[in-house]
């Protein structure tokens, strides 16, 4: 009964996983050179990788994305969760609306936002900036400017993702016993005190969990880059996963792409282990 699952897991997860490591030590291409075949190159791929400025740039871009998007998404979603946790009429409607961008495929979201990000004065965001600041802030080139491209993607991804964390916070908020709030109210605590001394400590586990799991998720970012910038301009939006795609699929360099994948896996593993440590600490 367990057979189909185990077979599929082995063939399509375990075996490729092992091969990622194996290939990373070779110069394998998608179509093997019929004369020379594939050779073992030891740490050659890794040496090239760590000398490749494009790789460092991609890694840095990933860090930039994570450092901004994760806190944004994990903090903005909490007030949203509090708002939709109220017992007022129509709150279900608001919950749906705030969550809906999560449901929309990221590809479609990218298409929507690319229109708003049009770089000259006719673009939507630029028009708004223009009227709000009376022309003081010039047209921003958003996705076409190496300095603002990643930030544009961050803004868009925050919009698209925040509903997800909101729902998880909502679950957490609803499991806080009402009596705690009652006794706080009796003791005369105001809304702000309640928030900082009760709500946040009660949500501590949820907050830590969200920060860590959102970090892991953010590291895998690909679709936005694929759809909007192709890694540019000037490599300012290239990410590690995009490099894996570009090396392995576009350039067909299986060996090199595998070495990037190994580094990627190690980073994700480290973050996941930190997450496990925290969860276990909380349990004990």
């Amino acid at each position: 009964m367990a057979a189909p699952g185990v077979i599929l897991l082995t063939v399509f997860v375990i075996v490729p996983f092992i091969f990622t490591f194996i290939y990373s030590f070779t110069n394998r291409m998608l179509i093997e050179n019929p004369i020379v075949g594939t050779q073992f190159v030891g740490f050659g791929n890794y040496k090239s990788l760590f000398n490749d400025s494009a790789f460092y740039k991609s890694f840095l871009n990933n860090l930039t994305f994570t450092v901004f998007e994760v806190p944004l998404v994990c903090t903005l979603s909490l007030p949203l969760a509090i708002l939709v946790n109220q017992k007022i009429r129509g709150v279900g409607f608001f919950r749906l609306v705030y969550y809906s961008p999560v449901v929309i495929p990221m590809l479609v979201t990218s298409v929507m936002w690319s229109l708003m990000f049009i770089p000259d004065e006719t673009g939507f965001f630029n028009s708004i900036l223009n009227s709000l600041t009376n022309g003081a802030v010039g047209p921003i080139r958003w996705l076409r400017d190496p300095n603002t491209a990643m930030m544009s993607i961050i803004i868009m991804s925050t919009w698209a993702g925040v509903g997800y964390q909101m729902i998880i916070y909502l679950g957490g908020l609803q499991s806080i016993p009402g009596e705690i709030y009652e006794s706080a109210r009796i003791d005369g605590a105001n809304a702000i005190k309640t928030f900082f001394y009760i709500t946040i400590p009660q949500l501590k586990n949820t907050i830590i969990f969200l920060f860590l799991s959102t970090t892991v998720m953010s590291f895998k970012m690909f679709t936005q880059v694929f759809a909007l910038t192709g890694g540019g301009p000037m490599g300012s939006t290239s990410t590690v996963v995009y490099m894996i795609y570009s090396a392995g699929y576009t350039d067909q360099r299986i060996g090199y792409a595998s070495s990037i994948a190994v580094v990627f896996f190690v980073v994700v593993l480290l973050i996941s282990l930190v997450q496990q440590k925290f969860t276990n600490m909380e349990k004990s």
């Binding site: 189909p4 495929p105 479609v108």
Partner: protein, 279 residues
């Protein structure tokens, strides 16, 4: 009394303003898919007219994508992949989850720990050898390759495992004594009792296929088995961008998911929370 009313009104106002931030970009998609003039769309970008159905409106964009771009073909491909992931994924993952939770067999503990450790591996890390493997298996450019490698999901298996563990086993034990085979117990007793688990887990697992553009791009060539996500990327990357048509395409790609979401909202929320507490 008056103070409370003002407070409530202010609250609603705040929530509506926030709602607008989320709805308006989505409006852009729907509204502009009906606008016929590309240059008008670009001009409308300058103002709030981008949110309003003004100017020449009509269904031409939709006609174009249905007749010239063959969107229904891509749609059909995506639906097949989605259904295959859903049904086959349900069978594969739940049977393994059940076996791990109830049946005693050698290596059971080992497989449970294996499944838990496999959850950490991101698909992106194993994609490349997977691509090579599918290439060598001759699976490239088929519908199968777009769902088969992802049927067995460690996370889904684990959620099923946990879900089944929490089912009281009394009924199943009685059935075993009566001589029922495990498969019959599974289909007649366990599955009907765990409907919520099934729905939540399956939503989590099968939705990924609809919007996935990374794997689909890597394993499909040409139009035959192309899913709607790749079609979307294609029309979007064909310059010069014809926004009306692109948006019409996006609407057709989004509506099924949006509908699915509205019908199964409770389960979406439940599966989000389930993925949240997995730690």
């Amino acid at each position: 009394m008056k103070r409370r009313t003002v407070k409530t009104a202010a609250l609603y106002l705040l929530m509506i303003v926030i709602a607008l931030i989320f709805i308006l970009p989505i409006c852009i998609l729907f509204v502009n898919s009906f606008k016929l003039s590309n240059s008008q769309i670009l001009r409308d970008m300058n103002s709030f007219r981008i949110f309003l159905p003004v100017g020449e409106l009509g269904l031409n964009n939709y006609v174009y994508i249905f007749e010239r771009v063959d969107i229904m073909h891509y749609f059909k491909n995506s639906v097949i992949i989605f259904l295959a992931s859903l049904v086959l994924g349900a069978i594969v993952n739940s049977t393994l989850g059940y076996a791990l939770s109830r049946l005693e067999f050698k290596g059971r503990k080992f497989i449970i720990s294996l499944v838990i450790s496999l959850m950490i591996i991101p698909t992106e890390a194993i994609m490349i050898p997977l691509l090579l493997m599918c290439h060598n298996m001759g699976l490239i450019n088929t519908l199968t390759v777009q769902f088969l490698p992802f049927l067995a999901g460690p996370f889904a298996i684990f959620l099923f495992y946990q879900g089944f563990l929490s089912l009281p086993s009394a009924i199943e034990e009685a059935a075993v004594i009566d001589g029922c085979s495990y498969i019959r117990i599974y289909t007649s007793i366990v599955v009907p009792l765990s409907k919520p688990t099934f729905v939540s887990v399956l939503i989590l697992c099968s939705l990924g296929s609809w919007g996935d553009v990374l794997w689909a791009t890597m394993v499909t060539r040409g139009k035959a088995v192309r899913p709607i996500s790749v079609g979307m990327a294609q029309i979007f990357q064909t310059l010069p961008v014809q926004w009306g048509q692109v948006f019409a395409f996006a609407v057709v790609m989004t509506i099924p998911i949006l509908l699915f979401f509205m019908i199964f909202q409770k389960h979406f929320i439940a599966s989000t929370i389930a993925s949240g507490v997995k730690g």
